[in-house]
């Protein structure tokens, strides 16, 4: 079995936030990135509260344990963040926090892309409703 960090295995098993959100709620963003053929496919969803903070996260992932762990880590780290903080967090903290092996970092980038796209969509939605 490949070597996973304890943090990857922990989040892989916990899978915090797995499942889809209700798309009918306001300030909602969703993005699907990746393909089965490439070995990673992620649906990432989040919602913002009226004051612009992430207040709910949902996701589905087809991928290796690091992919799934990364979704779970975001689902724990993002709630409560405003958009700017969430963007910064998405950009550079997960690799270190999970001690992701170098050869699977491309897969983690897919999760980052999906989360970022969902965040931007939710942000635009919230501007429209403001």
């Amino acid at each position: 079995m490949p070597d996973y960090s304890a943090a990857v295995l922990d989040h892989f098993r916990r899978a915090t936030g797995a499942g889809l959100l209700d798309p009918g709620q306001p300030r909602f963003g969703t993005a699907t990135v990746g393909t089965v053929k490439s070995g990673v496919k992620v649906v990432f969803q989040l919602g913002l509260s009226a004051d612009g903070r992430v207040d709910r996260v949902g996701w589905l992932a087809f991928g290796c344990p690091s992919t799934i762990a990364c979704c779970s880590w975001f689902a724990e780290a993002l709630p409560g963040c405003d958009v700017a903080t969430a963007e910064a967090l998405l950009h550079d903290q997960v690799m270190q926090a999970l001690a992701v092996a170098r050869d699977v970092r491309a897969r983690v980038l897919v999760v980052e892309d999906a989360a970022l796209a969902a965040l931007r969509m939710a942000d635009q939605e919230s501007e429209r409703t403001r």
Binding site: L9, F12, A18, L20, D22, V36, K37, V43
Partner: protein, 396 residues
């Protein structure tokens, strides 16, 4: 909980009878003689042990013992068969064309590619979705200069059988030699040279409860099928595989052949029943399962995919309870998934979630039932969080 071993196609545990038989040939005070030392008793007893093992191999294969060449592995036996025969044929103007198949073991494919680099021409037969070649296609690839056809009896990933006797019949009027990689078949199916019609046959002891590091290339001794040796040195193994024989390994191989012969009648049906129980259990569990390789199969291998979940994630789920081979892209050496499954046209989702379950003499119903329960639980959990599953869960 002890790890359940379901990877017998990779290797098998040593049979205690075989181990016991090998030990005297690893002792400090006896059994250490060089079989080539004909001038004293130490050498003579080692030589006679090697010849006894040769007869044990021959008896299992129902073939003349002088055809058996001891090697260090099936890989070496295969290389000697393919390169040894092609180099000989090319030197003597007896052809330069090889026919093999896309789902062969990498030892065969790599040896054929090496022969190609040395001037041979190679035809690689495709397989259908069931993993089988077409005899008509084989016939149409045959040329006047075809020197060798190399096909496996049992596929190591799917268990699918090639109809070797039918291939031998197709070659009857042709001068091409037939090499059969029987590595996965010994101890699971009757492997009898006359019934198969093989001119060359490779096997490896560790696949049937013998020691690692010893194999056999059997080649037709009458009329003697000529090979160009791959190594040069003393005259051991008729000069075709020079180097002092590993007596303890060879003794172990001989005993493993004897044991395989004794167990064959009961093991084949027992393994098939276990494999069917495993597959039925998973089908009945209500999870998506696809069986890769529906053709006639050896009894001990089942290649199953669980579309919708990623093989690497599934392995991480089951790996603490089951020792099993995952065939997904990430775990395969090429990084592109199994070449066998790709040749069969298996789709991406199934390719990435393929597992090889392989059973052996130690496998019991309880092991299979546990595997069914561990896999069903793991697949259900991963499907619940997969975008590829139908009807996924929705959170508030």
């Amino acid at each position: 909980m002890p790890l359940i071993y379901l990877d017998h196609a990779a290797t098998t545990p040593l049979d205690p009878v075989v181990l016991e038989g090998m030990l005297p040939w690893m002792a400090a005070d006896s059994g250490f003689g060089n079989p080539a030392s004909a001038s004293h008793a130490f050498g003579a007893e080692a030589a006679s042990a090697v010849e006894r093992a040769r007869r044990q191999v021959a008896s299992l294969l129902q073939a003349p013992p002088e055809g058996a060449i001891f090697t260090g592995s099936a890989t070496e036996a295969i290389n000697l068969a393919i390169l040894g025969r092609l180099r000989f044929a090319m030197q003597r103007g007896r052809g330069r064309h090889i026919i093999t198949c896309a789902t062969e073991h990498s030892a065969v494919l790599a040896a054929c590619e090496q022969a190609q680099r040395e001037g041979a021409e190679l035809s690689v037969l495709p397989v259908d979705a069931a993993g089988r070649i077409s005899l008509a296609e084989l016939r149409s690839e045959l040329r006047d200069d075809t020197a060798l056809v190399s096909l496996m009896l049992v596929n190591n990933e799917t268990g699918v059988l090639h109809d070797i006797p039918a291939v031998a019949t197709a070659l009857r009027e042709h001068s091409a030699m037939l090499h059969v990689d029987a590595t996965q078949a010994i101890g699971k199916l009757p492997v009898q040279v006359p019934a198969l019609g093989a001119d060359l046959l490779s096997l490896s002891a560790h696949k049937f409860h013998g020691p690692k590091g010893v194999g056999v290339l059997w080649r037709c001794p009458r009329p003697r099928l000529r090979l160009q040796p791959l190594q040069f040195g003393g005259g051991q193994e008729g000069g075709e595989r020079p180097g002092t024989q590993a007596v303890h390994q060879i003794v172990g191989l001989g005993l493993a052949c004897e044991q395989a012969g004794q167990y064959l009648g009961s093991e084949g049906p027992r393994l098939k029943a276990l494999r069917d129980r495993l597959e039925q259990g998973l089908f009945d569990a209500g999870i998506p399962v696809q069986c890769n390789g529906a053709g006639p199969r050896a009894p001990h291998i089942s290649n199953l995919s669980f579309p919708g979940v990623h093989g690497e994630a599934l392995l991480a789920e089951v790996g603490e309870e089951l020792a099993i081979a995952a065939g997904s892209a990430c775990t395969s050496r090429s990084g592109r998934g199994s070449h066998v499954l790709r040749a069969m046209g298996v789709g991406d989702a199934a390719l990435l979630s393929a597992f090889r379950f392989s059973l052996g003499r130690g496998s019991r119903e309880a092991d299979v039932d546990q595997a069914v329960s561990v896999f069903s639980r793991a697949v259900r959990r991963l499907l619940a969080i997969s975008p590829e599953a139908a009807g996924v869960a929705r959170r508030a």
